[in-house]
Symmetry: C3
Subunit: 155 residues, 3 copies
């Protein structure tokens, strides 16, 4: 058992099952020899109640944080399937996160801290602290509250 998996176990985190690729895109696309992009991913987990709606109206910031953490768990599951071993991740380079928001909701960073804090806890500051933009939007696919995409460097 390697470090990332020990850390996940220590934190009591179980990765969800990666969804089967479907649709006209790749959940993970490698490029160059050491980079990959993860497609925008929501935070709804199989077997749990579907969470939908806008921040500022349907979800509290705290609910949004749980949801964005679940986005990241699903992204990690996709990375696990693609890389075989999460210890191959050299750094999380960039998070681009979209938060479905009412016009007067402006706490997108706090919502996305749920996802970013997970990375920091599991991978530490050097690997886990990515560059980031957390942006509001009026409408996301399927009415999901948050969608996150990732640029990752691996070895």
């Amino acid at each position: 058992m390697s470090d990332v998996y020990a850390k996940l176990k220590e934190l009591g985190i179980e990765l969800p099952t990666a969804a089967k690729p479907g649709g006209v895109y790749s959940p993970v696309k490698a490029f160059g020899t050491t980079f990959l992009y993860c497609s925008g991913c929501d935070g709804n987990l199989e077997g749990e109640d579907l969470v939908l709606g806008k921040l500022g109206q349907d979800l509290t910031v705290e609910q949004g944080q749980v949801y964005s953490r679940n986005c990241m768990l699903k992204l990690l599951a996709n990375l696990q399937r693609h890389l075989g071993d999460l210890n191959r991740i050299k750094r999380f380079v960039k998070i681009l996160a979209f938060v479905q928001s009412t016009d007067d909701f402006h706490a997108q960073p706090q919502v996305i801290n749920g996802a970013s804090t997970l990375l920091r806890e599991v991978f530490g500051d050097e690997i886990g602290l990515a560059a980031r933009s957390a942006i509001g939007t009026n409408a996301l696919p399927g009415n999901v509250p948050v969608e996150i995409e990732l640029l990752v460097e691996f070895e």
Copy 2:
């Protein structure tokens, strides 16, 4: 005649003329030795009626699909001008697509499938299936319905 052009001919697709670069940005910017970014591109074609407005109000999903396919045709025209030969494209890495949407329109992925399906048809799954995010927004430049940017690896 190489594969991409044979495929375009077989599908009856003619690329539009690439717009002359203008404004304070580059339509295509190469970096490293094998990567390039295409600037966000709308889907209005020269000589055709201007299409404007929001999904969920002014365009049907089907009209949006045609429009997003036209965005991709314009992006291919820009790539053609920059690379000289579309067969140099090694993979489409990442699509970031913005769909001008009413607050309750949530079918952004279906709209962007118009663009993604074109890439799959012309380049096949391995090259053409990019990682992707399809995001709604309340307002795009010039009131266009869709804007798409691209990360590409070439050789």
Copy 3:
């Protein structure tokens, strides 16, 4: 004194002080051996009045241009701190800019020209003219009018 600093002096531009990193992300994250991403950055400068609100309602296009130029000055300050020498920048690859907009405001590119023109003036066309997307959104963090992120190649 090297070229970039001479040019900044000639233009009468003083870089603001880079904000101390805080929050659960990196202001600048290097990857590969020559690339870096700058996190989304607003344009509010220390010691100046806070500028908040939406284009199309609270700010004119001209005010938005000044603000987006300030976003870029803050990004340059972050790059200065990370790289030590702005002459190490080989090219600005990609600008992704979000403009907090009313539903009927569609001049996002004009607003972001404030930022892009600064790069062109200081770094010239070849280094300074990046690929770009300028996107509207209904809600940005802290109610700021503009947020810009950057992909940069350096040596």
